[in-house]
């Protein structure tokens, strides 16, 4: 009897150990994602002939690797819980368009740049890591750090970007501060309308 209990305990412990090993996503996968994405962006920009097609290509690429839902949720910290599903979806789409327009503005078709890893990645939590890179080009350079969250959803990339830190400034924190002013003063509708209007400008 005791032997059976002991064997059961050992089996349970082994199972939980195996589960914990499997549950911790590998940091290396996040690094590889960033390296691959950076290379794709560089090739896209270099080969682009005009801004609108570049923007469309970047939109597709960003859609694959950025978790806009989580990104947007973090910028509306404190207000997100009060939104319904439709509002959340609307905000996510508007925010995605805004991020894309700002991101695309940083690149001009034909621009050449390289991205290199900077230091070792940092595991912030079990399912959050930070990967550090430096973008260098003839005209400018910047430190671009990616915060990635592990999304255990089927048929989606395991690691997805949930924040960009450019030259030490987190997009989430920067936009959260700006959105808070408008939310406190004018409310959610005014904020999302403003975001949609701005995102639709060329």
């Amino acid at each position: 009897m005791l032997t059976r209990i002991a064997m059961l305990l050992v089996a349970l412990l082994s199972l939980s150990f195996a589960s914990s090993v499997q549950a911790a996503p590998k940091v290396q996968a996040a690094v590889e994602l960033i390296e691959e994405t950076s290379g794709r962006v560089a090739r896209l920009v270099k080969g682009a002939e005009e801004a609108s097609s570049l923007r469309a290509s970047l939109d597709t690429l960003l859609g694959e690797i950025v978790d806009f839902r989580r990104f947007g949720q973090r910028t509306l910290s404190g207000h997100w819980e009060g939104l319904n599903a439709t509002e959340r979806e609307r905000f996510e789409q508007a925010f995605r368009a805004l991020v894309l327009s700002l991101y695309a503005k940083r690149f001009t078709p034909g621009m050449v740049f390289t991205t290199s890893l900077r230091g070792s990645p940092e595991r912030l939590e079990a399912d959050r890591v930070k990967v550090f890179t430096t973008v260098s080009g003839p005209k400018a350079g910047a430190d671009v750090d990616y915060e990635l969250s592990y999304a255990a959803r089927p048929a989606q990339a395991a690691w997805r970007v949930s924040d960009l830190v450019i030259d030490g400034v987190s997009m989430v924190q920067n936009w959260r501060n700006a959105f808070k002013r408008i939310l406190d003063r004018d409310g959610f509708e005014a904020l999302v309308t403003k975001i949609e209007r701005r995102a639709s400008r060329p």
């Binding site: 700002l102 450019i166 030259d167 030490g168 920067n174 209007r197 701005r198």
Partner: protein
């Protein structure tokens, strides 16, 4: 039209601007600058004086020759002047040779003083060299900094113009977003920007002129630094004790002061030797003759007709007690004065080394802090503009960020230039090229 074309054809083409790197500049200014030529000429004087003392061991020749016309007999008899029947030529030649045998230290004293004089001359050349290199460093770094600041201010001017145009558009369209106070806030900064542009243009022009004049070039032969950017000089600071030790041995001002003390000591020995006699070998040859004289005859004040020669040991001694004592006291006082000056030079050296070392040791941390500030200001501007451009930010935030970009960049560049010039100044203070002697990257 024809006059204009002619003027264009005949116009003297502008000389191409030569670029020069730092090592080449240092080499060329030492070859061409009047300060170095003056110092080297001074050294050559001391070297000539030293060579001159060596000739003191050689014999001294004195030659006297006289040819004249004299009466028969060589003298007029007072009571029978009319009886002189014949006049003829008279010649007189005398050669005296003095060969010093023993001078009781006079020549050795002069030689020792002259040797110390050469040391002084060499140290003066080194002092001139470091003075020139320090001037060149200030001009070179100033030109590099001014060039980078010019680019920063141009970028700043573009930002100001961009914001101003946007505000002007809002003002003209009487937009609800237009805030005249914000517009005035921007315009109030334009004067500061213009002041920075003016100051920087002056720095650029003065630095370029200084470089040209250091190389002794005319105004139509401009010269510019080869590098594009200000960079921190590759230099690893050693402990203070090292620089203090090196400076006491190698700093030109200390070497000059010590050499003057040594030279004074040699002059004092030489002055004591002056109170003693000289032993010498004396040789003489005399010849006296006349066509009017046929037999040996002694002529008044002229010696005997014929030839005479002789060699003898001689002693020469001139002793002036009063002057000797006075000179001795004067030399003693001068020696004490020079000793005090040498001690003062050592103290000044120590103070200067400590001052530069302290500042240099803090300068690297300051550069790092200013670099961080500069990066943060740049990031602030980009993000503030992004928020403002998307309608989520405020223009005063952009203007404040822009001002900080200018100031932090200027501050960072100034910190680097100050560091680089201080490295050269410390090199001059210790009398050792610290960049080539150490050569470690920061």
């Amino acid at each position: 039209m024809i006059a204009l074309l002619t003027a264009l054809v005949l116009a003297t083409p502008l000389a191409p601007v030569e670029t020069i790197d730092w090592p080449t500049l240092v080499t060329r200014i030492q070859a061409t600058n009047p300060l170095m030529r003056e110092a080297r000429a001074g050294l050559e004087r001391f070297e000539a004086a030293l060579k001159g003392t060596q000739w003191r061991y050689f014999p001294v020749f004195e030659l006297k020759a006289h040819v004249g016309i004299g009466p028969e007999g060589g003298a007029l008899e007072a009571d029978a002047p009319a009886e002189v029947q014949r006049w003829g030529d008279t010649y007189r030649v005398g050669v005296v040779v003095e060969q010093p045998l023993y001078t009781f230290g006079k020549i050795e004293g002069l030689k020792a003083a002259a040797r110390h004089g050469v040391e002084i001359g060499e140290a003066v050349v080194q002092a001139a060299r470091w003075e020139l290199i320090a001037r060149a460093a200030r001009a070179y770094q100033g030109a590099l900094m001014a060039r980078e600041v010019e680019a920063t201010l141009r970028e700043g001017r573009r930002w100001v113009d961009k914001v101003n145009q946007r505000l002007e558009a809002l003002r003209r369209s009487d937009a609800a977003d237009y805030d005249p106070l914000v517009h005035l806030r921007l315009k109030s900064r334009v004067g500061d920007l213009a002041q920075m542009e003016s100051d920087n243009a002056a720095l650029l022009s003065e630095s370029h002129d200084a470089l040209r004049m250091l190389l002794s070039r005319p105004v139509d032969q401009p010269v510019r630094p080869h590098e594009d950017q200000v960079e921190v000089s590759a230099f690893a600071l050693k402990p203070l004790a090292y620089y203090l030790e090196v400076a006491q041995k190698s700093r030109p001002e200390v070497t000059i002061a010590e050499a003057k003390v040594q030279a004074q000591g040699a002059l004092m020995k030489q002055a004591r030797a002056e109170m003693l006699p000289e032993l010498l070998l004396l040789g003489e040859f005399h010849a006296l003759g006349s066509e009017t004289l046929e037999r040996p005859l002694a002529l008044p004040n002229q010696g005997s007709v014929g030839m005479s020669a002789g060699v003898l040991f001689a002693m020469r001694w001139r002793f002036d007690a009063g002057s000797s004592l006075h000179r001795s006291a004067e030399l003693d006082a001068r020696a004490r004065q020079l000793r005090a000056a040498a001690d003062k030079a050592q103290q000044a050296t120590e103070a200067e080394v400590r001052r530069l070392y302290g500042r240099l040791s803090r300068q690297r941390d300051l550069i790092a802090a200013k670099r961080e500030s500069r990066a943060a200001a740049k990031s602030w501007l980009i993000n503030a503009w992004e928020l403002y451009d998307t309608g989520f930010g405020k223009l005063p935030e952009v203007m404040d960020a822009l001002e900080r970009v200018w100031l932090t960049r200027l501050g960072h560049l100034h910190a680097i230039v100050t560091h680089n010039v201080m490295v050269i100044e410390l090199s001059g203070t210790v009398g050792l090229d610290l960049l080539t002697a150490q050569g470690e990257a920061p």
